[in-house]
């Protein structure tokens, strides 16, 4: 099933491997559409994106993608139940205002949901906090506090606990440090966590 590419972002490769061929995918916060384009090309999925940034929309359209211009918070609620096999929130969940509501909706609209999140508890971030007393700028969180698009800061463990609390089933969890998978102590050594979840 696995299709390996040299120049693909490692998180995109993981998501590519999680998604079944010819399925339907809704990518929330799809950006310029690189992941959707890959999914359509390699997995023949039927893809739809939602994106707030108009310049990113133009790039999506140039790739031939179907995309809605709008914010995730309001864009999702209009879809019917189980409209998609997968709803993807890759590196976008932490930027959504009402995360809880969106996740409930994503699990309603999609049969499965894939969440990719930057790990706030990455060891370099911890070092910056502990020894320097500064808000971390490290790993998948490269922004200064005054310019970050992120509204929520969470760790891989936080999200696992959230899923337990909300009785969301974690089908797969893949943690990445750079290009490599992190099998142990992921909350310390992984920069990115990717979860395949379902209700």
């Amino acid at each position: 099933m696995s299709t390996e590419h040299k120049d693909i972002q490692s998180d995109h490769q993981v998501i590519l491997d999680l998604i079944k061929e010819q399925s339907t995918v809704l990518d929330l916060g799809c950006g310029p559409g690189d992941l959707l384009y890959l999914l359509i090309k390699d997995k023949k999925v039927h893809g739809q994106g939602i994106e707030i940034d108009d310049q990113a929309i133009y790039k999506c359209v140039a790739k031939g993608l179907n995309v809605f211009h709008g914010d995730i918070d309001s864009g999702l609620s209009e879809f019917g139940d189980k409209s998609f096999d997968y709803v993807v929130l890759n590196q976008s969940m932490q930027q959504i205002l009402h995360v809880d509501k969106v996740l409930v909706d994503a699990l309603r609209v999609g049969k499965k949901v894939i969440v990719g999140l930057p790990n706030f508890a990455y060891y370099k971030s911890r070092i910056q906090m502990f020894f320097r007393g500064k808000a971390p700028v490290a790993g998948a969180l490269p922004y200064q506090w005054y310019e970050t698009p992120n509204l929520h800061f969470l760790s891989i463990t936080d999200f696992r606990d959230y899923c337990r609390l909300k009785k969301i089933h974690i089908e797969r969890k893949i943690c990445l440090g750079g290009k490599r998978k992190v099998p142990f102590l992921a909350n310390l050594f992984a920069q990115v966590g990717i979860f395949l979840i379902s209700k």
């Binding site: 108009d54 133009y58 031939g64 179907n66 809605f68 211009h69 709008g70 209009e78 019917g80 409209s83």
Partner: protein, 386 residues
């Protein structure tokens, strides 16, 4: 709509001719039969042997069949010339473009100013009340006549968008794609209100004479005021401020209420020019058709759209307050619920409703790539140039 725009004459379609197509009878939505009907139309580019590259462009309230190029001996570039031509969004090297004047219009197609063959006089108010669906049905006669089974796309802004939605609701099997721009499923009370003020202005003109003015003076003042109101709604607060500011014209007329401000002069100029090219009764009939239009016949649009294979590109503009983005989003929502393959973009523009004629770069980008994808996916087997 505002015709002031830069025209890139280097990739124009060149000299074009308006043609006529006449058919005997049109069954109207209200059950009546009306005929004969003539449609004035123009075409640009070449229809391929498989007849799979045809795009129908449908015009807004006061548009006409002359969408691109110039007429022999004139420099009257068509109303969407920036979008139609070799290498442009509607690339005439690849596509065959059709544009017709609407049924009920006054630019060559049968309308209230046409001669009724039974009386030898203009129809005036004997012309039947028409609907957007009637306008589209007349277009369908033309598309049948041209031997085109399936259009690559039907495209239009504003009232053109109404026609696109009517095509989508009634004849989706004849469409590979549809591009409704700056439009709505149905008019809001505010939109109806602006149209009504325009109509009242025409009917309040003493020259209107219940529509029987064709042998005397036309209700030009009333029509000019209707057009002035229209122009205000086509612009935005910001685009007016940028275009006119509070600049005053230097006038030495003795009258107290001259057009002191630039904006006043502009509106008067636009109004006075408009009456030279447009028929007041057509204005009444067509605005009424717009107000009565409901793409989904009172039902939720998604019920009408469910199961259709047509791909849809919906475009709105940020500063458009006549057809605000929320109305386009209602179309988007219906497409979502109906499972229609859809792309939606709200273009960041300050031009107001007129943006659909003026935002050449962004709009062209969206249309060009969308059409390419539709054409590519469905039809083209060989390599297709960028």
């Amino acid at each position: 709509m505002d015709k002031e725009k830069k025209t890139n004459q280097s990739n124009s379609v060149g000299i074009v001719k308006t043609k006529n197509f006449t058919f005997d009878s049109l069954k109207l939505e209200n059950g009546e039969k009306f005929g004969p009907v003539t449609l004035a139309y123009e075409t640009y580019g070449v229809l391929n042997p498989e007849k799979t590259n045809a795009i129908l462009i449908v015009h807004a309230l006061t548009g006409d069949a002359h969408a691109a190029g110039v007429h022999e001996g004139k420099d009257n570039f068509g109303w969407w010339d920036n979008f139609i031509g070799p290498g442009k969004a509607f690339d005439t090297d690849k596509y065959f473009i059709i544009c017709s004047n609407v049924f009920g219009g006054c630019k060559g197609s049968t309308g209230p100013s046409s001669i009724n063959p039974k009386t030898g006089k203009a129809y005036a108010l004997d012309f039947p009340l028409i609907s957007i669906n009637d306008i589209v049905n007349a277009q369908k006669h033309l598309i049948d006549h041209l031997g085109i089974e399936k259009l690559l796309s039907v495209v239009g802004g504003s009232m053109g968008g109404h026609q696109v939605l009517s095509w989508l609701a009634n004849y989706s099997k004849r469409l590979r794609s549809a591009i409704p721009i700056a439009t709505t499923i149905k008019h809001s009370p505010q939109q109806i209100a602006f149209n009504e003020v325009g109509r009242q202005s025409i009917m309040a003109d003493a020259n209107w004479k219940s529509g029987n003015y064709y042998e005397g003076s036309a209700p030009s003042k009333g029509l000019a005021v209707a057009r002035m109101i229209g122009h205000i709604t086509y612009m935005s607060d910001k685009s007016m401020a940028e275009k006119f500011g509070r600049t005053k014209k230097r006038m030495s007329e003795p009258f107290k209420f001259t057009a002191d401000f630039e904006v006043e002069g502009y509106l008067r100029y636009r109004g006075d020019n408009f009456v030279k090219r447009f028929d007041a009764n057509s204005y009444l009939y067509i605005t009424k058709a717009m107000d009565n239009f409901d793409a989904s016949f009172g039902k939720p649009l998604q019920e009408i759209l469910r199961g259709i294979k047509t791909k849809v590109l919906i475009i709105s503009f940020k500063s458009d307050w006549l057809y605000p983005a929320y109305q386009s989003k209602e179309i988007v929502k219906a497409c979502k619920l109906a499972g229609v393959e859809t792309t939606y973009c709200e273009i960041d523009s300050t031009y107001g409703h007129d943006a659909f004629l003026l935002e050449v770069q962004e709009e062209s980008h969206l249309i060009r790539h969308f059409l390419k994808k539709v054409f590519y996916t469905y039809e083209v087997t060989g390599e297709y140039g960028a």
